[in-house]
């Protein structure tokens, strides 16, 4: 782990680490997030370091709240930073759109970490359009070193315009590693004062109409800043022009020769005069950007407005794809119009059948137990499994197949209500503890309000596991000198008026199946809370009580029930024997609880 607190020198940093160093050098006093890949490491680092940095940091209950708390800090004159994954900005878009009307006083950055190729996401939306929708300025770094420097630049833009700035990254920036030169730490201001200004901060219709005009004025001022910004620069000469931003710049710079490159770092508003001047001197230009033709369409518009008759190649001309992230390979399709470096002939792929290796629920994962229990209780009934965003999404794989419908955080429970009202199928929703606090409470209340007879299974593993084990309201907070008690899920659910509420231990699969059968027969909203801590989290905190399962070969008749129902990766069948791998097995006893011949013993 690099040391982000020392001044000077050079270190090899992950993009997300470089961003944290940028915050330290910019004197950011307030940060908030809801964890989401590829931005999660920023939060994990701040959880550890915020006290040493002297910054206030929180994991908020969702992205909307995260943006609101940071908005308040910046409106009080404290430099703030809110960060999230791309789909998180959908959740936070509501406050962002009107915050643009009010603006801020201290600098504020809104980081959106987009995920081209959807490595760990449900879509690959291009959030650059949010900058045009909200009229907020936007910057896009290309690599870790760029990102660190751009944090400071973005705060300067934000304070000059009194507007939040969108800081747009992608997976190959957040999870790239490069050499970063350290400057010095800045003084940090963590407390401000909120000077009231009703016409600015209270957007009732009469004021909103005026603030819209103020925002358009700031947008014109932003355009002037963009025209003169060093973040938008031309490199190299030649009559072939390349316009690019983000990580695509690194591919163009390293693998295309004999071209002049306009690297755009300040990408909303784009520098219109600079682009027009650049294009005018070229035989043609190629726009290289991932996902949608955000820059390309603006270049085409600028050419049309300025009567520049220079061909613009890119996605609209069919030279480059609109789907999936780019790599040096993407440039091969530009062979006819650019001097692209040639690459060696790759080896033929293996022709023998290789076993698949998708990500999977861990050995001893309590979600396995709950899924096995639900499957057993449901039997042949016609049900729709509405799942959600988290490790438990992996239940989509065999042998569980417990995901029929997934859209977004909290979306499964909402949809379950709709399936209940519009079909005769029984709707079962799965949701993690962190997801429940994020967006699960309104759909539960909706089910109660409209009498949707759904079953909501809250998979409470006492952490936000998928993104790297962040705390959530259900665990309480224990960092940065602030200690809070956990919010009790069962009491909260009962408070909404749900009468069927049961908390179960998913390691006891038969008992869980019994409770779930009752839930299936219950005439009303039923909530089952599967409560068991994530073993990975316990391992990290050195709280896991070691144990292992031993299979008695004289009793085991190789029926395979354990393999087929729990499918724990610690279990394997080889040489005519079923065995538990002691290096993986944690001794949870899920397999023992389903064994029809009691052949498995848990040893501590």
């Amino acid at each position: 782990m690099p040391n982000l607190l020392t001044d000077g020198g050079r270190q090899l940093l992950l993009g997300n680490e470089a961003i944290v160093r940028g915050l330290i050098e910019a004197g950011t006093g307030f940060a908030s997030t809801y964890p989401g890949t590829p931005s999660s490491e920023i939060g994990n680092i701040l959880e550890k370091l915020s006290s040493d940095i002297g910054m206030y940091f929180e994991f908020s209950s969702n992205e909307k709240v995260a943006l609101e708390v940071s908005a308040a800090a910046a409106s009080s004159g404290v430099r703030s930073f809110v960060f999230m994954k791309h789909v998180g900005l959908n959740v936070a878009a509501d406050p962002m759109m009107t915050l643009a009307y009010s603006g801020v006083r201290g600098g504020m950055l809104i980081l959106t970490a987009d995920d081209p190729s959807a490595h760990s996401s449900q879509n690959e939306q291009d959030n650059r359009y949010y900058s045009q929708l909200s009229l907020l300025p936007m910057v896009e770094p290309s690599d870790p070193s760029d990102a660190k420097d751009m944090v400071k630049e973005a705060y300067a833009i934000s304070e000059k315009l009194q507007l939040p700035v969108i800081f747009r990254t992608t997976t190959r920036m957040n999870h790239a590693r490069g050499i970063v030169s350290f400057g010095s730490k800045a003084d940090i201001k963590t407390k401000g004062y909120f000077d009231k200004d009703v016409s600015r901060f209270v957007n009732i219709p009469a004021f909103a109409k005026q603030n819209r005009k103020i925002l358009l004025g700031k947008n014109s001022a932003a355009l002037e800043l963009s025209e003169s910004s060093s973040l938008n620069r031309i490199e190299g000469d030649g009559d072939i022009g390349i316009i690019t931003s983000g990580v695509s710049y690194t591919y163009a710079k390293e693998f295309i020769r004999n071209a002049s490159v306009l690297k755009l770092g300040f990408t909303n508003p784009v520098p219109e005069k600079k682009i027009a001047g650049f294009v005018r001197t070229k035989k043609y230009v190629i726009v290289i950007e991932e996902l949608d033709p955000y820059l390309e369409d603006q270049v085409l518009r600028i050419c049309a407005q300025n009567r520049i008759d220079v061909p613009v190649y890119g996605k609209r001309s069919g030279h480059l794809p609109r789907a999936w992230e780019y790599s040096p390979d993407t440039l091969r399709s530009l062979g006819g119009i650019a001097d692209v470096q040639s690459f060696p002939e790759p080896m033929r792929p293996a022709e023998i059948k290789l076993p698949s290796r998708p990500p999977t629920l861990c050995a001893g994962c309590p979600h396995r137990g709950m899924y096995a229990a639900v499957k057993k209780a449901v039997g042949k009934r016609d049900v729709v499994y509405c799942s959600d965003i988290g490790c438990y999404t992996l239940g989509v794989q065999p042998p569980f197949n417990t995901a029929d419908f997934i859209i977004c955080m909290g979306g499964g429970a909402g949809a379950a209500g709709g399936f209940d009202a519009s079909t005769d199928q029984k709707a079962i929703a799965f949701m993690g503890d962190s997801t429940f606090f994020h967006a699960g409470i309104p759909p539960l209340v909706n089910a109660v309000f409209n009498n949707h007879k759904i079953i909501l299974v809250i998979l409470d593993n006492r952490t936000t596991a998928m993104t790297g084990h962040q705390p959530n309201p259900g665990t309480g907070r224990e960092f940065g000198g602030i200690h809070t008690a956990p919010v009790d899920i069962e009491k909260l659910v009962k408070g909404t008026g749900v009468e069927f509420v049961r908390t179960v231990d998913p390691y006891k699969i038969r008992e869980c199946a019994g409770v779930f059968s009752e839930a299936l027969d219950y005439d009303g909203v039923a909530v089952v809370i599967s409560k068991c801590p994530c073993p990975l989290e316990l391992k990290k905190r050195k709280l896991l009580v070691p144990g292992y399962c031993e299979i008695d070969g004289s009793r085991c008749n190789l029926c395979g029930t354990c393999l087929k129902t729990v499918a724990c990766p610690a279990l394997s069948k080889k040489d005519g024997k079923i065995a538990a791998d002691p290096s993986q097995c944690i001794g949870c006893g899920m397999c023992a609880s389903v064994c029809p011949r009691n052949a498995i013993e848990v040893k501590k």
Binding site: R10, L12, L14, T37, P38, S40, E41, H119, S120, D143, R172, H175, A176, R177, G178, I179, V247, T250, Y251, K253, E254, F255, S327, P328, D329, R332, F343, P344, E345, P346, M347, R348, P349, A350, E351, I352, K353, L354, P355, S356, R357, P358, P359, T360, L361, C362, C391, L394, M466, T467, G560, L563, K564, A567, P569, L571, S572, K573, D581
Partner: protein, 222 residues
Amino acid sequence: MKYSIQIVGVGGQGVLLASMVLGNAAMSMGYDVSMSEVHGMAQRGGSVLSTVRFGDGVCSPLEAVGSADLILGFEPVETCRNLSLGNKNTAIVMNLDPVLPSMVAAGFEEYPDIEILKKEILSRNSNLITVDATGIALKAGKAVAANAVMIGAMAAVKGFPISKEALFEALIAQVPEKFRELNTKAFEMGYEAVRRRRHTPQTFFKKNTERRRPSVWGKLNR
């Protein structure tokens, strides 16, 4: 000079640690470095890939397919899955110890015979160096040191541009104090295992050699 390494393996095998060691060692030798890592969902027991690129003017974190100078394979099937990352001249260092995917462990899919995997590679590339990293690590003291064995093995690859000393320093800086002795031993043993073989060339796959029948694929040759 530019050099690209693709590290492939399974989440939890130490692919990220190895890439950090390589990146830091390259930086200490004064090279530009650009790397790409896999975090998040894929780490849950899935296939992982890290790219480490260094040299003059390197800035792209990704490499084109076919362009790897070296493939460091922590796991045999993962190495075979990613052959297209390299070309016929790529150096391939492969650990022989398999990590069984869950569907194989449960008996739903089969893991190919190691000899067949080796032949699959050798029919495309004659630079394969196999290392019994887990076996060597056990001799050094503990199976977890397998990644130190692999890093040591790589240091002995002919023409590898990072010095053995720089790699060793970077490795030791990454491991906790109490594991330094173990990792030092494992690194040296990995280095020696490959250096010795440089003087006694392996028998390479012959084009007409008959392939083993599929019926033996399920048995692991450990």
